[in-house]
């Protein structure tokens, strides 16, 4: 019934559905717009960038280009991943720049009817609240939608780097 409905919605207004990439951190599922995602890579150790904040793992070589890799767990104030080798890097784009976001795993691509997205209640600290762009129920689980431009905030990284 539910799927029936959402299909109808999709037919009614094509633009109201957006594809999201679903990734996991711990037991939670997070979503980022698929349009911003370039590729998914297995974990490769990054080269440390002196002075960068702890959530910047470093830089890696993406086919001849140097990109930064950020750690989603550190960004969200969570403990480091239990098994680093099992993690993956989601390569995404924000404001014309490419970067990698290290997450526990990637599971799915889902259609998210934008009309069903709810603004997030104030659950997180002020620092992390800004990463949330909304919540949506997809099938059985709650998908936490993430605002990538808040995660890859170069102005903040640069500020923290010069303060160090």
């Amino acid at each position: 019934m539910q799927t029936q409905l959402s299909e109808n919605v999709q037919i009614a207004s094509e633009s109201a559905v957006e594809k999201y990439l679903v990734f996991q951190i711990g037991s939670e599922s997070y979503g980022i717009p698929l349009l911003q995602v370039q590729e998914i890579r297995t974990y490769t150790p990054a080269t440390r960038v002196p002075g960068a904040p702890p959530y910047v793992l470093g830089v890696i070589n993406l086919r001849g280009n140097i990109i930064a890799v950020l750690d989603a767990r550190a960004r969200f104030g969570l403990a480091p991943p239990p098994d680093e080798q099992a993690t993956v890097i989601v390569v995404a784009q924000v404001g014309g720049k490419t970067f990698g976001l290290r997450v526990d795993s990637v599971s799915d691509v889902v259609d998210v009817p934008l009309s069903e997205v709810q603004p997030p209640p104030a659950v997180a600290s002020e620092q992390t609240q800004r990463f949330l762009s909304g919540l949506v129920q997809v099938d059985e689980c709650v998908l936490i939608l993430i605002n990538l431009s808040e995660i890859f905030d170069l102005a903040e990284i640069s500020r923290l780097a010069s303060a160090a």
Binding site: R48, V49, P50, G51, I66, I67, A68, A161
Partner: protein, 666 residues
């Protein structure tokens, strides 16, 4: 490797075809230096390629051919039908051998030497074989020149002055032993004292007495193999049996060689196009695309080179060494395509100077020097703004109005000099004027006014000059339309430093000011020295490195516990530790110290260890991330990992604003 082999054969066949066509056209049209050169080019490249593949027999034969043909080039000898036939046979022989290398590896054939001696004989004008259709004997034919009497030669062999894995005189001499019996061998050397010894230089020569039935040209060919610059003198000592020297008296009528048709049909060969124009126009995107590709090749090559250590496969190692050289040259050549004379940029200034001077009521004579100095196109573009700014500044602030100049006893017309020159792998660009110069006191007052200095501070001249480049600094009395908004000089410095360059000022009150921009020749690829700190590698530009010491060998001091100083041969040099820069604690005394130099100043940089020298492709960190303070960019190492490249200019700045040593782990 598979592709490499493929490429080798493709190219080899092309070259053979080329040689054939050139020979045919030479025979038909007579001597023509350009065509003869083409023949040599083919033979030479073929020789190099087959040597790189480890096919020494092939490459030796080609080399022999090359030497034998030398008189064609040097003396402009016409290609007689007889000679043409022999040379074409040589091409056939090479082709057949080439086919055999696919399955048998490095094969040779006695027929090669025989053919060479025939060619040599024809060229030296000796009696020619009666049967001009003489074919090389079958490949299975093993008796070579046994019938010919052995003769004794005195051979003086000077190897090329520089040794390399491809050019090992001892290996060549061992090769020679297969061709000649050594009667006597003397090594003359002049080895300098150890401290002046260059490890890759050859300090001696050999004097040999040998007996052989082979032609001297073959001995020469062996010793000259893959060595430019080696000299070989061969003299016959006695001539016991000069009778049957020229050619074997066998007349072979049939050949096992599938290619050995005795009569060649000379086909009409399309004439080599001679009307080449001096230059062609190429879209810059094409050159850039080529250049990017070459950059990728340099990275791939460095991966190959680092893998080289892991293999014991001789031919592979050899090919990689060879490739490395070619890649380096390829890179240099492609770089050269991108170079443009700085005149392209300078040429816009006469007009600008005229207009600016007119607008300000000043008289300025612009002198341009060194406009033929070449530099990378991208550099040229990036230098445009800084230079424009400096030129405007010079007219606006530097050169005085005519009446003021007259009052000072100077000619009314000021001189503005724009000069470019290349030196030590860098480009120097000077913008100088004979204007009023920079008054340090005025800078000081301005700095105090801006709160950068306290009332009674008397900083050094350099520090004062540095203020000029700070954002917000402008000493212009009024903000003019042209300059003096205090943004320009900051941009000049930043732009130039982004290019890995530096700006320096020289000024004398009343006499003028000179700005010197020092920029690298190229942006994208440089020689770097790999440094290791813990598990990570960093790169420092090789041009900045003077020498290295063990830290424990140098005496140190830390005045007021603010920054260390080391004593290097009686000179006290500020020491900074790479570990501090990247926020790691010290590691005891096992560190090395590199002495870096920039603009005559030196600093010591402590590192854990040195990895080695390598060519690195400079990659931007800003393109997808941020500028990282202290680093000029990053590069991709042979194993695909990223290494950060240290910004030497910034290291020098670090030592000038030193903080207490305790600030180690950030």
């Amino acid at each position: 490797m598979e592709n490499l082999v493929h490429l080798f054969y493709d190219e080899a066949y092309e070259m053979l075809e080329g040689m054939e066509q050139v020979l045919l056209s030479l025979e038909e049209r007579g001597h023509d230096p350009e065509t003869v050169n083409a023949l040599f080019r083919y033979a030479h490249s073929f020789k190099g390629n087959s040597a790189a593949m480890g096919f020494t027999q092939l490459s030796r034969f080609t080399h022999g051919l090359e030497s034998a043909m030398e008189s064609l080039r040097r003396e402009g000898r016409p290609l007689t039908p007889e000679l043409a036939t022999l040379l074409l046979q040589a091409v056939d022989l090479i082709r057949a051998l080439l086919e055999r290398t696919r399955t048998e590896g490095d094969v040779g054939d006695p027929a090669c030497d025989l053919l060479l001696s025939q060619i040599q004989a024809v060229l030296s004008g000796a009696p020619t074989p009666h049967d001009s259709n003489t074919l090389p004997p079958s490949f299975a034919q093993s008796e070579t020149s046994a019938e010919r009497a052995a003769r004794r030669y005195r051979v003086v062999y000077h190897p090329a002055p520089t040794l390399s894995p491809e050019h090992d005189p001892l290996a060549l001499l061992r090769e020679l032993e297969e061709y000649a019996q050594f009667i006597h061998c003397r090594f003359h050397h002049q080895i300098p004292p150890l401290n002046a010894l260059k490890p890759d230089a050859c300090y001696g020569h050999w004097e040999l007495t040998v007996e052989t039935a082979f032609e001297p040209a073959i001995l020469r060919a062996v010793l000259e193999l893959s060595a430019e610059g080696a000299t070989v003198q061969i003299e016959e000592e006695s001539a016991p049996s000069p009778t049957s020297l020229s050619a074997p008296d066998r007349s072979q009528t049939a050949s096992d060689s599938d290619q050995g048709a005795p009569v060649r049909t000379v086909q009409a060969v399309s004439a080599p196009v001679k009307s080449e124009s001096q230059s062609i126009r190429v879209a810059t995107e094409k050159v850039d695309a080529l250049f990017n590709l070459v950059s990728e090749i340099v990275i791939a090559q460095s991966m190959l080179s680092s893998a080289q250590a892991e293999t014991t496969h001789e031919r592979l190692r050899y090919a990689i060494t060879q490739m490395e050289r070619h890649v380096r040259e390829l890179h240099e050549r492609v770089m050269a395509i991108r170079l443009l004379p700085i005149g392209h940029l300078f040429n816009r200034f006469p007009r600008m100077v005229r207009d600016t001077a007119h607008q300000l009521g000043k008289k300025v004579n612009l002198i341009i020097e060194g406009e033929e100095t070449e530099l990378d196109r991208t550099l040229l573009e990036l230098l445009s703004d800084p230079l424009t700014h400096l030129v405007r500044n010079a007219i606006d602030h530097g050169i005085e109005p005519p009446e003021e100049r007259r009052a000072c006893g100077k000619p009314e017309t000021g001189t503005l000099l724009l000069r470019a020159a290349q030196s030590e792998g860098r480009i120097y660009i000077e913008v100088s004027d004979d204007g009023r110069g920079i008054d340090p006191e005025r800078i000081r007052q301005k700095a105090i006014q801006l709160g950068w200095l306290s009332e009674n501070e008397q900083p050094s001249l350099e520090t004062l000059y540095d203020f000029i480049f700070r954002p917000g600094f402008s000493t212009a009395q009024q903000v003019s339309d042209l300059s003096g908004r205090g943004v320009g000089m900051e941009v000049v410095k930043r732009n130039v430093e982004q290019l890995g360059g530096a700006v320096s000022i020289y000024s004398a009150i009343g006499q003028g000011t000179r700005f010197t921009l020092k920029v690298p020749l190229t942006l994208a690829i440089m020689d770097g020295l790999g440094l290791r700190v813990d598990e990570e590698q960093y790169i420092v530009p090789l041009t900045a490195v003077l020498e290295a010491f063990r830290l424990s060998d140098l005496s140190r001091s830390a005045p007021f516990e603010r920054g260390e100083i080391v004593n290097v041969r009686g000179r006290f040099i500020p020491l900074i530790r790479l570990r501090h820069i990247i926020g790691l604690p010290d590691k005891g005394e096992s560190e090395l110290v590199l002495i870096l130099e920039q603009e005559g100043q030196q600093i010591a940089l402590a590192v854990d260890s040195i990895v080695g020298q390598q060519q690195v492709v400079l990659k931007s960190l800003e393109e997808n991330f941020l500028r990282v303070p202290g680093f000029a960019g990053a590069t991709i190492l042979g194993d695909g990992r990223v290494a950060l490249i240290l910004d030497v200019a910034e290291l020098f700045r670090l030592t000038q604003h030193r903080e207490p040593i305790s600030r180690s782990a950030a």
